[in-house]
Symmetry: C2
Subunit: 481 residues, 2 copies
């Protein structure tokens, strides 16, 4: 056996989804024109993106294997027998970016915009489409995504060491930063209430803001990349974060209905009103806020689609691996919407598991604790279960390492094996969220572990919404940027 039985695209899915997608794509051209025409097209394109990804990942798998882009599945009994195509995130990224390019005329062409605005000039907040000058912002975002894809693929081909690849996303963020500068982007931030006595209400960060943007893209990219190693882990994180961003965006759109949520239960000072054509949901009639969140939706909906399509093949037991390419392009997509649509703080809240994983990893990333080449859990072929993997200390660790590890063990983050007589640390479980979950919940199989990981990501997003729309009222007033 040289290949796992492939997962085909069910024909019923194709026959069912293609007409629906086609209807969504052409909907803006049909009378009566909907209030947000390009949004329909974006939904249609996303469905096509899903179908294309499912089809192409299957169709191109063996081409990748032949070109040497392959790897054994570390946590499987057939590890050395069956090569799995690697770097197939390239296919997702290509479909994603191609569709975002083909979307340009729908979002920006004068023809469609004029057509739509004639119909809607009287109806409430006149959000026909985001304005023409935003085209360069959109294009700079595409450039960043494309560079991220390219660098991710080069990373896969040349196998760059992780210490060298940490700053790679900064290169990909150059177009974002350059256009942000050329367009005189806003570098002011709202100061939290407790600090206003020092800085005032708004402070201009100037060049610091650019550093912040570059670091944001570095973080979002690498934090997904280091939470990897089991089937479906990378793509499921990206999927859940993207869905969370979409849910957040939807709160700011003009909806035909109007509803309230009792946010005072979460600690907010006032009721928050969602929806309504006239008040445009949480945008409170701000055309700019609606446009920003539309922009975010245009990037996030196809991302969800390609992630879903890829997950179909990447799900346990995986038929395709994402490679660094997928982590780079998804991470950059999040950075793009966070920066361009100005909700980077909210975005970071959706990265709670990644932040946890990163903080936990620091002792290994920065050399305090030995870091093996792979930190994925250990696979036991007899039980088919995963156990926490460990890092070894051939000689007793230094004092600071000792204190760090014993503190982490006391917090339940790692498990130590001590020398029976001296009590010195001999091994510690590797400091990743995956090993942490196995330490806390006991050994489980790979499929179960990725499900637990996804649950923790969902829980993180729920917490994020509570913090954003509940607790944030304590440190910020309604002034959003």
């Amino acid at each position: 056996m040289h290949r796992l039985p492939p997962r085909h695209l069910p024909r019923v899915l194709v026959l069912g989804l293609v007409p629906i997608a086609a209807w969504f794509v052409v909907r803006p051209l049909l009378d009566p024109v909907p209030p947000l025409p390009a949004l329909y097209t974006s939904v249609g394109f996303s469905i096509f993106a899903f179908l294309s990804t499912v089809y192409l990942v299957l169709a191109l798998g063996q081409t990748f294997v032949k070109a040497g882009l392959k790897g054994g599945d570390l946590l499987k009994p057939y590890r050395h027998e069956i090569p799995i195509p690697e770097s197939m995130g390239l296919v997702c990224a290509s479909v994603y970016i191609l569709l975002l390019m083909l979307f340009i005329p729908f979002a920006f062409s004068n023809f469609i915009m004029n057509f739509a605005s004639q119909k809607h000039h009287l109806e409430g907040i006149s959000v026909v489409e985001f304005p023409h000058h935003q085209l360069s912002v959109y294009l700079s975002s595409l450039l960043s995504l494309l560079i991220a894809t390219m660098l991710g693929f080069l990373d896969d081909v040349f196998d760059i060491r992780w210490r060298h690849k940490l700053p790679i996303p900064i290169i990909a963020s150059i177009p974002l930063l350059m256009v942000y500068y050329a367009e005189r982007g806003n570098t002011h931030v709202v100061v939290p209430l407790p600090l206003r006595f020092m800085f005032g209400t708004v402070v201009n960060l100037g060049p610091l803001y650019y550093i912040y943007m570059a670091l944001l893209s570095t973080f979002s990219t690498n934090s997904i990349n280091i939470l990897a190693g089991i089937n479906g882990s990378e793509v499921s994180q990206a999927l859940i974060i993207a869905i969370s961003v979409i849910l957040n965006d939807l709160l700011y759109l003009p909806w035909p209905m109007d509803f309230r949520i009792p946010l005072h239960l979460l600690g907010n000072k006032a009721e928050v009103e969602f929806g309504g054509v006239w008040s445009a949901g949480m945008a409170h009639g701000s055309r700019e806020l609606v446009e920003r969140h539309l922009f975010s939706l245009y990037f996030m909906m196809p991302l969800v689609a390609v992630c879903l399509g890829f997950m179909y093949h990447n799900w346990y037991p995986a038929r395709a691996f994402p490679g660094d390419t997928l982590c780079y392009v998804t991470g950059m997509a999040f950075a793009v919407v966070g920066i361009q649509a100005h909700f980077s703080k909210t975005l970071l809240l959706f990265f709670i598991p990644q932040i946890f994983n990163f903080v936990m990893s620091c002792p290994q990333l920065f050399g305090l604790v030995p870091c093996p080449r792979h930190r994925v859990p250990r696979y036991d072929p007899d039980t088919n279960l995963l156990y926490p993997s460990t890092t070894e200390f051939p000689k007793p660790p230094s004092r600071i390492t000792n204190v760090t590890l014993r503190t982490m063990a006391a917090l339940g983050l790692t498990e130590l094996a001590l020398h029976p007589s001296t009590g010195a640390i001999q091994t510690a479980t590797n400091l990743t969220i995956l090993n942490f979950l196995l330490v806390r919940l006991g050994p489980m199989n790979e499929k179960r572990l990725v499900q637990v990981l996804m649950c923790s990501q969902v829980a993180g997003s729920v917490l994020a919404f509570v913090v954003r729309y509940g607790l944030a009222g304590l440190v910020y007033d309604g002034d959003r940027r």
Copy 2:
């Protein structure tokens, strides 16, 4: 011996050029501001591009070899012993695109533009910089270049068959076309004088214009790609075409001096005036024409720089191969300036040797004559000379093939070997410009052949200028688009 002695970057070049480049980059910020500030920066960036390319192609060569991106030099005695790094056009493309991105704030930021316009608001044609709304055009060009780079590299990694890769540049031209459409780009063309009785002065090509643009990028990319095979052939074509475009652009800029060239000698109806701040050379005071040719210069000057830098290592005997990546990115760069700066007809004139090679290749490309995997000339290790390579006819060719080949032989384009008794064609020299040169001029070594090729490219450009500024007056009046 596993490696040819590398060509190092002479330290005196670094020490001499770095301060000059730095001065050019910061020149726009120094008082008095020059009339075209970003042009200075572009020159400075180009010098840096040259130095970076020379350095990086050397530094990364062995990394490419290790990653499997390598090939034997077909026309050398050490063909099987020494691997030469392949696809190193990727380095050129990366340096090129990175610098074009870093150039954005210099060309488009309000700060520099305002700074410059304050100084120059009184001096003749007020070309401070090309306007802000052109940013999206610039970004779409970068996207196309980046996609071309990516696809070229994928072509190198996956080794796509040439029939499949012919349409690849169309994908790369999508951003160009989409933004052209969204920006309501001009689809009118001026009709040549002899046809005006039918179509009028100007005709709107509509969708045909988009097809024309897509085909232009396909042609410019593939025509360079098929004129390949000997050390330095690809990069020298790109270099000479880029220099020709630059010379043409310079005719449209406002120069401090003013001079005339007696173009009536070339058959033009009127004297043509070059230079002069007030009349802005051949732009005749048209701000738009000056801006278009500035745009072209911003793309062509760094291209010349990276080509020169790469040629340093690609020159006979080559230390690095360009791969398809270089052909794709340079071809797309020419398409970009031809389309965005609206001089596609002039541009095509600079492709005379490529058009000749393409037309000559057609019988082999379209299956009339057998097409071997490589059509490069044949190398004779004893004499170190190149001879025309041949394609064989195991059975007598069909009638149409017979007629085609005998006609081409009569024109001196190929040399046939006939069966001594039946007179049937047994072999024919491959139908490329390289074999044609060897047929006409006799065997020569590889270095000499590339020099001859370069001479023919230069001759083609001289002819192009004669046609453009001499004969074109016969079929076009002064109305340029």
